[in-house]
Assembly symmetry: C2
Homo-oligomer: 547 residues x 2
């Protein structure tokens, strides 16, 4: 891709909000051109590095191959939950001696050295520019080129403190009061949280098994009534991979179709992609599962990158995609570090917005992450990501296997649209073959096993459970709220579906009323606990639906 | 203070901006009440701590008494610049063996332990609430009570990622478009940078040697013309200690007077106080300088706290002060950590605003700072701050001594208003006694040596230097701009006065035109370099003024 001649970004300055437009370049920036190697600086309020109490910071880190690329066959939910946990700990070197054997020590030294890219405490503990440590900048740029290969030439990157910060800044960059933001039919609450104070609205675009539907998007834009609904939307917020909460993943063709509509109607795409590297493949029932074949030596890196659904950046020839990357799911959320990739005009404004909010990310976090990546190398980091993918694949399989132990799971390919993975319907055990024509034709729940991310989006079919009154405030409790609370009282928390609804407060139809959604995550708890949670979940649901 | 009965904060909800008002409580927060010790969590998108590649993080830290409480007499600028530097390095344990002898190792372990207050990698590397690690919360609260002793009862604290983030959030909390923010006559550019995108204006309040003048504030408010200037100001942004750029410090009486006006006119005070612990006492000429007497044993902590001009919080009986504390000047800027102290209503909104911007501060930074403070203890941290104070006092003295070597410095107490420290006027060496009545009565520069902070605000008296045209764009270059550029080309950067002017772009009067300001900082460069810089500064100024 990099050898091809790529077009330049087009002028999209009309998308900058009034708020973002008013930012001025800091007058201090004007001074930077005067700084030379031998300049005597008496201008700034920087404390002397001699006064920083940390004289060195170091960490022990796992090796890049801490996690295997194949999952042992033994890890069935019934027998192996505890042994699976033990297996994990063996792999991690969880034993007292083992961990020290396999970890490496990285250090951020006090004094700068030539070509250290700012990875020293004198720089990392000092005020820094909102653009981050030089070596981190270099990493972000090279990683983006090699992994995402944007479709235009003059894209650029900018560090941020995680995708929440990133989307907060993007919403300020693009949205004016009264604007409508397009989101997926079910979406991450944070998307709405950032739009609300700006007095922007949001509108859900219907989804299928690949996430946002291109035809539905076009219909909304073509039929937009400016009189009734205000300015036509200019911004899409999307989680294209492992969508939150639905777990869907957009294929390349879908991305192209949506991008083309954005070109036609002049929209900007905010691509929030924390789960990009958790592309774990389609779910395969346990009996048919095979270990992934190893890549031929020397081809591991390119084969892995090629195996991933490309980013929206790949189809972006005009600079209308703002991609958000984060280390939260690949290193750790607590480092609060990630980066934007977009056109230079937007990056310049995002930097200004950052200068009066998060400012530069914590230097200790930056330095330790960069030291880790330097120690690992690019190829090593890819190996680490492959190991993580296997872990999450295993956890996804494990959760679905747990559900298969509690219910009779039956695929219903006829319900699936647009060629995605099949819907699985779950019937009470012993209710016969299930299926749509059987006597007990109503499934208790249904879901599509996700091929990316961390979540199973489970539709619950309650049947004919009546509404209840809340004892404390007299409000109506629909069945989904009754069930969620019953489950919580039984000691299991799942994500309540209604918090992901863009149309919060819309009265449910009768059909809606007898269904509900929960987002079940296979990542936060260890396997034994997850299995226990699914057991309680299943039992509570059976009781609730009186089957 | 804590034993007295203090009043509750009054209702100040009408000060919340429309922007801040629209934030909603995240629906996810509603789930927290269901979390018990044995709850099985399948709700969140938290990665398993097993997948964090850091298995331990540690640091070497200086001892609390790394810096002495008295400065050796030998450190005169002429002889001791290099030896002073050597002395600093001796103190720091800069020698190869020495540093390890005196530093202590702190570690953030991987596994949680009971009562560790979140100082473990499982918590620090995970998503965290915007309120920070529990032990950090505890520290901030106790520190605020002991050091600032707020004048009302239900004040509360909230972590932020440095005072830039803090003021960014406060401006969003309080300012509506069209509002006018009151600032000091010369102010920190960041204050204006955050107000600008909101479409708020700013208005400078005249200052004297104690900073913002209470009488001038009252005059502005009493005479405010709503028709002409929009809504009467509701917010003051102030740097009361070691003001940036002027270096002035407000005494308690001044703070009381300003606070009373804020009660009368219903204003909120945003107290940006990064230099609070750099209260270094009035400047004493070298010949009269004596080493500070040691505090009696057992009284060091309370004597130190009592020696500091109290915060605005001390006089706040209604909850109308939002104080910003930061670790940037006391630990290191790169940790990006600080905290708000204010009424619970404002803190709740500031937390919401933080949730969609900086989110929780970097966990590695939080954990390392808390581990450091835990190791040091409260009393130890106070000892560290006392050592820092001595360092900055020494640096301030050194800079003024350097100026005294280049110029004939003469105090002009008659020019000083309101009983603050005396103005020093600098005359060319050999021009006689200087003084207002002498032949060469015009000083080249004048300044008040600051009793706090990091800056000397130097007024330059150019005499009759003509304007010039900029060769590149034909714009008029007033003498202050000509001099600043000439100095930069000579290799010395000082803070150009005009970037601190709230009334940017106002045409200067003829008297203004022949003066200018520069902010000279004694903190970023080592002493030898500082001395060299002042030499070049003095020579450049003499040449520029042809004396």
């Amino acid at each position: 891709m990099s050898s091809e001649k790529r077009p330049k970004a087009i002028d999209l300055s009309h998308h900058v909000s009034d708020f973002a437009r008013r930012y001025a370049l800091s007058p201090l920036k004007g001074l930077q051109k005067y700084y030379g190697k031998d300049t005597i600086g008496l201008a700034g309020g920087l404390p002397s590095p001699d006064y920083f109490p940390f004289t060195s910071v170091s960490a022990n880190i796992l090796p890049v191959d801490a996690f295997p690329l194949t999952v042992p066959r033994a890890s069935s939910p019934a027998s192996a939950s505890s042994s699976a946990f033990g297996w994990l700990w063996r792999i991690f070197g969880g034993g007292a001696g083992r961990r020290d054997d396999t970890t490496t020590r990285i250090e951020v030294p006090r004094e700068p050295r030539p070509d250290d890219g700012g990875v020293n405490l004198a720089a990392a503990l000092q005020y820094g520019p909102a653009t981050g440590l030089p070596r981190l900048q270099k990493f972000m740029h090279e990683f983006t080129e090699r992994v995402y290969a944007p479709g235009y030439d003059n894209w650029t990157t900018l560090v941020h403190t995680g995708n929440t910060d990133a989307w907060g800044r993007i919403s300020k960059l693009l949205l004016n009061p009264g604007d409508t933001l397009l989101v997926e039919e079910w979406t991450y609450p944070s998307a709405m949280a950032s739009a609300r104070p700006i007095d922007a609205r949001w509108h859900g675009v219907p989804m299928d098994n690949q996430g946002m539907r291109a035809d539905a998007l076009r219909e909304i834009l073509a039929g937009w009534d400016v009189e009734k609904s205000g300015p036509r939307p200019r911004v899409i917020y999307t989680v294209p991979v492992g969508q939150n909460p639905c777990g869907t993943t957009m294929g390349l063709e879908r991305k192209k179709a949506i991008y083309d509509i954005c070109v036609e109607y002049d929209l900007i795409i905010a691509e929030d992609d924390p789960y990009f590297f958790i592309q774990i493949g389609e779910f395969v029932p346990k009996s048919q599962r095979k270990a992934e074949r190893e890549s031929p030596a020397g081809e591991e890196v390119s084969r892995f990158i090629d195996s991933l659904v490309p980013s929206f950046l790949r189809v972006d020839t005009q600079g209308r995609v703002i991609r958000m990357d984060t280390f939260s799911k690949t290193i750790a959320p607590g480092v609060r570090l990630g980066w934007f990739t977009c056109n230079p005009l937007f990056v310049e404004r995002l930097e200004r917005i950052g200068e009066t909010s998060a400012q530069n990310p914590c230097g200790l976090g930056q330095a330790l992450v960069v030291a880790l990546l330097t120690q690992w190398t690019f190829d090593g980091y890819i190996r680490w990501l492959r190991g993580l993918r296997t872990q999450y694949q295993h956890r996804r399989d494990f959760l679905v296997d747990c559900l298969a132990e509690e219910f009779e799971l039956s695929p219903e390919p006829s319900i699936t649209t647009s060629g995605g993975p099949a819907l699985l319907c779950a019937y009470p055990r012993g209710s016969g073959s299930g299926g749509l024509l059987g006597k007990k034709a109503r499934p208790l729940l249904s879901f599509v096993p996700p091929s990316s991310g961390m979540f199973v989006w489970v539709k619950l079919h309650f049947g004919d459970v009546p509404d209840k009154r809340d004892e404390s405030d007299g409000s109506v409790l629909t069945p989904d709220r009754q069930f969620w609370e019953k489950l919580a009282k039984a000691g299991v928390l799942v994500g309540p579906g209604w918090i992901f609804a863009p149309a919060l407060g819309a009265p449910p139809t009768e059909a809606d009323r007898q269904t509900g959604y929960v987002r079940v995550s296979y990542t936060p708890s260890d396997m034994e606990t997850t299995r226990q949670g699914i057991k309680i979940f299943a039992q509570t649901l059976r009781e609730f639906c009186r089957v």
